[in-house]
Symmetry: C2
Subunit: 254 residues, 2 copies
DNA sequence: CGTGCACTTGACAGCTGTCAATGCCGGTGG
DNA sequence: CCACCGGCATTGACAGCTGTCAAGTGCACG
């Protein structure tokens, strides 16, 4: 592995199963076809760009290992980080609906990715309806995540926003790597974190200090440590989202 | 019709086709099954609630006619409006991934809705993969929309944010009702608009005045009038998103 | 030992939210 | 018909929060 902190739970089928399994166990034939569809692994370095907003989307990518981020930039250079992607995430789905990529995708650390050709997506909807429905559900989950972020950024102040981001991150890391303790690696710069929260670096530092001061969370070097998750969540004022287990309406596997 | 301003383009199959047709024409059998799956029409009054965040989601709803909004509220009463729904929208999809509804859904005007039972969603993925893929694409489009909003709210000031919201609204109204001119009905209160943009009513009024001052847009009573769309879009600093026409990878219709 | 990059800190202006006072309008009840 | 009331909109004062900018620090790298 490139990096010592990514357990291989996400490697089953090139990084896709960690997220999909949340909505029900994958069957053997589904897994096999997923494996077959994904292209060979490619390795990219930190700060490499998979694609830029405005580009024609080259296709979907499965993030097998490492950290990546999607961002949107404004004309004056301001940048909003939309999401940090972890191993197991499928990259590029939103832009499928558009003629040009809506987001820029950059590696935050060295990453390993496998591309997923578009025709195989069509095949997937035809041959594996249950798998397609799971992909659909992952997208709905992302929508909820974005809605949470929008509400947080639109209606709360610096510290509260930062708390929300940290809690979200922790929940996602925990779900991908269930054995994560109260601290996880977060290999980004302060400016990246500021872009993620929607603040400048000065205010982000202040907010971090505030969280540290109240023994809620600490960030040193590239490691985020949660000191009081419940209090952080209360501060963020967002409910703990619980992903549905195995929706009754899912088509049966074949 | 309840209200004089909604053309019936969206009524083909109970409100779903306006959005789905964007990604390719629906076939006869697809249409017929959609029609059959949707429940009877229900009429709700303005300010009626379809469901509240935290509720168990009663199921999907097709918005046949009228305006609705999804919102998220914080403990202290602050509220973020996530989206204004138009006739043709499918309501409730994000919460499918969760055990409890993530958003509150309220009618902004009298509305007509048809419920779409969950088991029929499973059937849809099995029997109409092409239709399922279109529903998938609609979700991706929504993700891009949320990403745009997040970037706008996170990184731009009051007037710019308001401009972005107005442009987004116009684009969506225009797409659902192609014969819309430079003005459309927007039956919401100033406070609703403020909740949508992520501002208070005072600042929203100021921003509206600023747009009016520069002959970009005007809002009087319940009607929004676009005076200079290009300038508005430039101000918002978000690219004009172009929805993909007929993706090559879509499964063939049967 | 220099150079560059990221981080830290602080002053300051500008923007935004809160709050309160006022006006407007439609609906209700006398 | 008229007085009253409640909801919504408008406006302004004010404090507080946030972004910009600049200077200084520490560290990794060459």
């Amino acid at each position: 592995m490139i990096d010592g902190t990514s357990p291989n739970v996400a490697r089953d089928a090139g990084g896709a199963t960690a997220r999909l399994n949340a909505f029900g166990a994958l069957e053997a034939s589904e897994l096999a076809d997923l494996r077959a569809a994904a292209g060979p692994e490619r390795v990219l370095g930190a700060e490499d760009t998979l694609w830029r907003e405005g580009d024609r989307l080259p296709g979907l990518s499965l993030l097998v290992e490492g950290w990546a981020a999607s961002t949107m930039s404004f004309g004056d250079g301001r940048r909003q980080m939309l999401k940090i992607h972890l191993a197991g995430d499928v990259l590029g789905m939103p832009s499928l609906a558009m003629t040009a990529a809506a987001e820029t995708l950059v590696a935050l650390s060295p990453v390993r990715v496998r591309s997923l050709p578009l025709y195989s997506l069509g095949h997937l909807f035809e041959s594996h309806p249950r798998l397609a429905a799971m992909l659909f559900l992952v997208s709905q989950e992302e929508r909820v995540h974005l809605m949470d972020r929008l509400a947080s950024v639109g209606r709360t102040g610096a510290t509260q926003r930062l708390a929300a981001v940290i809690v979200h991150l922790r929940d996602r890391v925990e779900r991908s790597f269930p054995d994560t303790g109260d601290s996880f690696r977060l290999p980004i710069t302060l400016e990246d974190l500021a872009d993620l929260v929607g603040l400048d670096t000065g205010r982000t530092r202040q907010a971090l200090d505030a969280l540290r001061e109240e023994n809620l969370a600490g960030w040193s070097g590239d490691r985020m440590t949660i000191l009081d998750l419940d209090a952080l969540r209360r501060l963020s004022d967002l409910p703990a989202r619980q992903v549905v287990d195995d929706p009754a309406w899912l088509p049966a596997g074949e």
